[in-house]
């Protein structure tokens, strides 16, 4: 019956009984290893995504105003040269 109280749950404090804790002991190492693996993979994905998104070097080659007059003259010459060609 689903609603029957478990024999491995203390009826006064609802904690796991020592027998249940002993029954779960052989699986502790394996479960901890699995948990570490799971959290490790998930955390790695999040960290990589976070790190990748915060690099932000995509527009480094775009000039930002105000621009230097000498540089402006050089750009103008370059533009005129391209225009003639």
């Amino acid at each position: 019956m689903v609603l029957n109280p478990s024999k491995y749950q203390d009826t006064r404090t609802w904690k796991m009984t020592p027998a249940m804790i002993r029954a779960r002991k052989p699986f502790f190492k394996g479960n901890m290893l699995g948990l570490t693996l799971l959290l490790g993979v998930t955390g790695s994905v999040y960290y990589y995504t976070y790190h990748f998104l915060h690099k932000d070097n995509d527009f480094a080659d775009v000039p930002i105003p105000p621009i230097d007059p000498q540089e402006l003259e050089a750009l103008k010459k370059e533009y005129e040269a391209k225009k003639k060609a």
Binding site: K7, Y8, R12, T13, K15, P18, A19, A23
Partner: protein, 436 residues
């Protein structure tokens, strides 16, 4: 308005009403305090204080000479009569204060016994003491309420005792006293069940103790035990129950039916006949003596389990061909602590009985009290019948041995557990050809 609804205000009003009656106030405050503490303890997840009825090593310890139980006082007297001091060789006159069991001739001899103190043997002897007192304490034993058959969707885990109890929904064995009481009874059926089960904790060589020949024998037995899983193969109609022969049966023959039923619950599709064979296999509790019977005594537990008691040696029935034909797929032999190599039972085991056992060509599993006991047995069988037998299972510690520590009255320092070690062998199935 706010002050009127505050809890402190309510408390003041409450005490004001009860001012005229100090007795009521004491009762009420006492109840309130206990209830409040219980609630706080529950909320914090702390354990409630233990009941004085709960067994602990402190309240179960009595020196056996002054034990409240008559049985244990008689046993202490028996130790003093039969045993000898390991230091001086004289009779036992001193009760070890650490373990409560008579062990030495005097206190000087007790202090001189370095091996006794270095190996901490007294701790195990103390466990012997407290376990025996717990069984005779008169406390309730709810752990003896064994579970019935469970569905196929609930698999049984046979890795160790704790997982077996949990997956079979036994009572929660919280203390070592409960474990000791139950594992002593269940060690016999579950030792058999853990060997034959498909999820046996013993694996094949080199990871486990089962040899290739052992795998052949166990595979044949499992072929019979799990007929539904061999559905693809054409199986013959099953015409009889699987027979489990227990030779030299003593304590295991006295276990009640509902304990042996735990073996049948592990194999719900199979019916069993357990044959107890030996001069001491039929014990009449009312007469307080072993009974001899020329005809087999049959006790039917239910339609799937039957006990058959034969109060003679196995070779007598073997020569009379009572059990023919033997079938390695449906017959298996167990000898619990037989003592092949011990002086008092060497003759009755290693003559005609062992020859008859090997002739059956069925699997034979044997257990021992400790490692030396079992290895001596197996080495003797190998030395005497080495060319006529195969080793099925190397001597290994029994996963389902009893956790209750026992004492040898003739040598109080020799402690053991029932079915502590286990091994298996079988008569050779392929006849060897002599070289010309």
């Amino acid at each position: 308005m706010t002050v009127l609804y505050a809890p402190s205000g309510a408390t003041q009003l409450y005490f004001h009403l009860l001012r005229k009656s100090p007795h009521n106030r004491l009762v009420v405050s006492h109840q309130t305090r206990r209830h409040l503490m219980g609630f706080v303890r529950n909320a914090l997840g702390l354990d409630p204080p233990p009941s004085p009825e709960d067994p602990t090593p402190e309240n179960r310890f009595h020196p056996w000479d002054q034990s409240p139980s008559v049985d244990l006082r008689e046993r202490a007297a028996k130790i003093r009569t039969l045993a000898h001091c390991p230091v001086t060789g004289k009779d036992i006159n001193y009760t070890c204060p650490l373990s409560g069991i008579p062990t030495h001739h005097s206190r000087e001899a007790w202090e001189m016994d370095k091996a006794y103190h270095d190996s901490k043997k007294y701790e195990i002897l103390k466990k012997v003491n407290i376990y025996e007192h717990d069984l005779r304490s008169g406390r309730p034993f709810p752990e003896f309420d064994f579970p019935q058959q469970q569905g196929y969707d609930k698999a049984v885990n046979l890795t160790n005792w704790d997982l077996f109890f949990y997956t079979r929904s036994f009572y929660s064995m919280d203390t070592e006293f409960q474990l000791a009481a139950v594992t002593k009874m269940l060690s016999y059926p579950i030792t058999i069940g853990s060997l034959l089960h498909k999820f046996s904790p013993y694996s094949l060589n080199p990871k486990g103790p089962i040899t290739l020949e052992g795998l052949k024998s166990l595979a044949a037995l499992r072929y019979t035990l799990y007929p539904l899983e061999n559905r693809s193969l054409p199986t013959t109609t099953k015409n009889r129950a699987m027979r489990i022969f227990i030779l030299g049966a003593r304590a295991e023959a006295q276990l009640p039916g509902h304990v042996w039923k735990q073996l049948q619950f592990l194999f719900p599709e199979q019916s069993f006949e357990i044959h107890f064979i030996g001069p001491e296999c039929l014990y009449k509790r009312d007469k307080q003596e072993y009974v001899k019977s020329t005809t087999p005594v049959v006790q039917r537990v239910d339609e799937t389990l039957k006990f058959i008691y034969r109060t003679n040696f196995f070779e007598v029935f073997h020569e009379a061909q009572d059990f023919f034909p033997y079938d390695p797929y449906m017959d298996v032999f167990f000898t619990f602590h037989p003592g092949y190599a011990s002086p008092e039972s060497h003759g009755s085991w290693m003559g005609e009985t062992m020859k008859a056992l090997l002739e059956t060509k069925c699997a034979i599993f044997t257990t021992g009290f400790n490692k030396k006991d079992l290895t001596d047995d197996i080495n003797l069988v190998k030395s005497k019948y080495g060319k006529e037998m195969d080793v099925l299972m190397e001597p290994v510690r029994n996963v389902f041995g009893s956790t209750k520590w026992e004492l040898n009255d003739m040598n109080p320092q020799e402690v053991y557990q029932f079915n502590m070690y286990i091994a298996g062998f079988r008569g050779k199935r392929y006849h060897t050809i002599k070289r010309q």
